[in-house]
């Protein structure tokens, strides 16, 4: 009992122990913040990688792509229904995007997708802005420009199908979430970046809401290409929905040479139907998504007839990638191995007669982790390195606790003699200081865990505050770190482990002093006043 009693009494009365508590608190908070942010960064990389790619990816890392993709998709869906839930082809190409009224031209990664299939294979749909609030209205097919007008009662209104979709979303989201939606009823009519008013040339009539302008194919644009991020985390869109944009393409032949066309690089007009935010800045500032078949046609990756001078025959349709979603419970690596084997069997009978057999031979089938292995691996190593460095720095806390406890034992030498004189054992005396160290760790660790957790939860608000104060104080630049928000989740396991280590480190720091206290000879300690 005396050990606990004296430990708690010394904790309250010896102010020097507060410095030890503060040291443990700050080191615990520091390590927790680093582990949480780096761990969150790693988790975001993993989640986003998987979210954008599906479970398995088939590609040959070339711009020409590879043929026979649709036959293979049909084959594996028929032969492996228990493993394969969905598969979709994707074309990845490069070009430029131009916004006519701004005369702004930017580089773009132009991705051809089958929208419905893609939304089943990966999490592309979750990042769409207008699709969220107007479900079922984003399309890559031909579309006109939706314009806001006035209904019969003179109230602002959108075209009927958009109004209906908006009401469907409101009903499913509930009033609380609907109230928080950036597209509020009062905003969607006048605020730039949402919907255009009925064009002036049409306004001679009642200005009925509807779809105006000529039909153009739809394009989904990365959010950072068409919007500006505000300090409060919202986005201000530069263009109305349905705004025309021009895409210019760089097609290649199946042999890898730039396609020679008499009229220069092909360009087409599209309508901006939606924007996509994955949270990965590199993607959101570069990507434009268009219809797969349209892009395949523009890039001349669909079936091509070869002229007599080229030996005649046809080049089968090509795609650069196939993304595959597995059923829950299917083992990605085992399924990958099966598909690799099946692909070899599949193309063996088709490779003869191909002008570019290497396009098939170099097809790889990877899990999403393997596809992103270099990036994920680099982030993992960075996490380990930074955590280790901060862990080493935290060893300072151990030494600080040790020094403080050494001073406390010096000051308490007489007390130790007194306690020994009334029958306490040397082990009991040591236990007082070990318990003291544990108490410092328990309290400092708890405070540090709370401080670190609170800081991580609010880290983006803190960053926004610094940015508003002075833009030069911005510490997390989305252009550098790929993600636009700092990870702000603390895992209970991480917090628990770090807290436990803080307690153990504090005990370790007190051990030398405790040993010294145990070896105090009571007669010597009591010799003087």
């Amino acid at each position: 009992m005396y050990k606990l009693f004296l430990c708690l009494r010394y904790l309250r009365k010896r102010r020097i122990a507060f410095f030890a508590v503060a040291a443990v608190c700050l080191c615990t908070a520091m390590v927790l913040i680093v582990v949480s942010v780096m761990g969150g960064f790693l988790q975001m990389v993993r989640d986003r990688s998987r979210g954008m790619l599906g479970d398995l990816i088939m590609e040959n890392a070339s711009l020409q792509g590879f043929p026979f993709y649709q036959e293979f998709i049909d084959l594996i869906k028929a032969e492996m229904p228990d493993q394969i839930e969905e598969a979709t082809p994707v074309i990845i190409s490069y070009g430029v995007i131009r916004f006519p009224t701004d005369q702004i031209t930017k580089p773009a990664q132009i991705v051809g997708i089958r929208l419905a299939e893609t939304m089943r294979v990966n999490e592309f749909g979750k990042g769409l802005f207008y699709e969220t609030y107007y479900p079922g209205t984003s399309t890559l097919g031909p579309v006109r420009m939706p314009c806001v007008g006035f209904d019969e009662a003179g109230r602002p209104a959108l075209p009927e199908d958009l109004e209906a979709a908006w009401q469907r979303w409101r009903a499913s989201a509930g009033p609380a979430q609907a109230a928080k939606a950036p597209i509020e009823e009062s905003l969607r009519y006048n605020r730039p970046g949402y919907y255009a008013p009925v064009p002036a040339e049409e306004s001679g009539g009642p200005m009925a809401p509807g779809w105006y302008g000529r039909e153009l194919p739809g394009a989904i644009i990365g959010t950072d290409l068409c919007a500006r991020r505000e300090p409060d985390g919202t986005f201000t869109r530069y263009y109305w929905r349905g705004y025309p944009v021009t895409l210019t393409f760089v097609p290649f032949t199946d042999t890898g040479k730039p396609l020679e066309t008499g009229s220069g690089m092909p360009s087409k007009l599209f309508r901006y139907v939606d924007d996509c935010r994955t949270g990965v800045y590199d993607i959101d500032s570069m990507s434009v998504y268009v219809d797969f078949d349209l892009l395949q046609d523009v890039l001349e990756m669909d079936e091509q007839r070869l002229g007599e001078e080229a030996g005649g025959g046809t080049i089968p349709p090509r795609t650069t990638q196939v993304q595959i979603k597995l059923r829950p419970g299917a083992d990605p690596r085992r399924t990958r191995d099966l598909l690799v084997e099946r692909w070899r069997e599949f193309y063996a009978g088709r490779i003869d007669g191909l002008r570019t057999p290497e396009l098939i031979r170099r097809v790889m089938i990877l899990t999403w982790e393997e596809k992103q292995a270099k990036f994920i691996g680099a982030v993992e190593k960075e996490k380990v390195l930074v955590t280790t460095l901060f862990g080493v720095v935290s060893v300072v806390a151990v030494f600080l606790v040790g020094v403080i406890f050494h001073m406390i034992v010096q000051q308490k030498t007489r007390d130790i003699g007194i306690i020994r004189s009334v029958g306490a054992t040397s082990l009991g005396v040591a236990q007082i200081f070990i318990a003291y160290g544990a108490a410092v760790g328990l309290i400092g660790g708890a405070l540090g865990t709370m401080l670190g957790t609170a800081f991580v939860w609010r880290i983006n608000e803190f960053q926004d505050f610094l940015r508003r104060l002075d833009p030069r104080l911005e510490v997390w630049n989305a252009e550098v770190y790929a993600f636009d928000r700092i990870p702000n989740t603390v895992k209970a396991w991480d917090a628990g482990v770090i807290y436990l280590v803080a307690v153990l480190a504090s005990i370790a720091g007190s051990l030398v002093a405790a040993r010294r206290a145990a070896r105090v000879w009571p007669v010597e300690a009591l010799r003087y006043e």
Binding site: M1, F5, R420, G423, A424, S426, V523
Partner: protein
């Protein structure tokens, strides 16, 4: 007087001061009877405090034996001696040696806490508080229970030290210069208190350099150069 309660036989103790060896006790033999009040006198450096510490198992002799009720005090592990110090002996020091962060009552309760686990303390604390309050009343401090040592006079602090020494009802009270840091009037009060305790049956061994203080004892033993020069050993 009744039977021998504490007996030292041929006790030797040498201190190592750097490279020099300093013999402090050179074969001291002493018997203390139950209920006796013995004063050990001697000049500074004669070894009287060392002898007291060895009699109370606070120090260990190099040679010789100390028996308490016939049992060798230094046989067995150190923890046995620690237990004896808690249950059997009570120490009073010249400089009081109270724990400054604890109040009067808590200082007196420390020896009781030493012998109890946390669960045992919770069960027995009321009883211990009552006993401590009784002892403090006995030494005249019942009105000072919540005062810290720095709020007490020298005499009051020494009374607290005596109360702490009596907390576990020791068989032997060992006092090392109990009046050495007090004025004469306060010293007489403390000696009066010790006398009262002895009349109530408490065995007391006291170290002093003051003949007037020693006169209160039944027997005076004089140490000189680590040996008993006079008084029955």
């Amino acid at each position: 007087m009744s039977d021998v309660i504490l007996q030292a036989g041929g006790v030797h103790k040498t201190y190592q001061l750097g490279r020099v060896q300093l013999p402090v006790l050179r074969g001291v033999s002493l018997s203390i009877a139950r209920g006796e009040f013995v004063a050990i006198m001697g000049s500074s450096g004669s070894g009287k405090s060392t002898l007291l510490h060895i009699l109370g198992a606070l120090d260990v002799p190099d040679r010789g034996t100390v028996r308490f009720e016939g049992q060798d005090l230094f046989a067995g592990p150190a923890s046995r001696r620690d237990g004896l110090r808690n249950a059997t002996f009570g120490f009073v020091f010249q400089f009081y040696h109270l724990l400054p962060e604890l109040d009067v009552l808590e200082n007196v309760l420390v020896p009781c806490m030493v012998r109890r686990s946390v669960a045992g303390w919770i069960r027995a604390r009321s009883e211990h508080r009552r006993d401590a309050a009784r002892v403090l009343e006995q030494v005249g401090l019942s009105a000072r229970l919540r005062h810290k040592p720095n709020e007490l006079s020298g005499g009051e602090r020494q009374r607290v030290a005596i109360a702490r020494a009596l907390a576990n009802r020791p068989r032997v009270l060992l006092a090392d210069e109990p009046t050495g840091n007090l004025d004469s009037a306060t010293g007489r009060e403390i000696m009066g208190l010790l006398g009262t305790l002895n009349r109530d049956g408490q065995t007391i061994v006291m170290v002093t350099h003051d003949p007037q203080v020693a006169a209160a004892a039944h027997r005076i033993v004089t140490l000189e150069d680590g040996r008993i020069r006079s008084g029955r050993g």
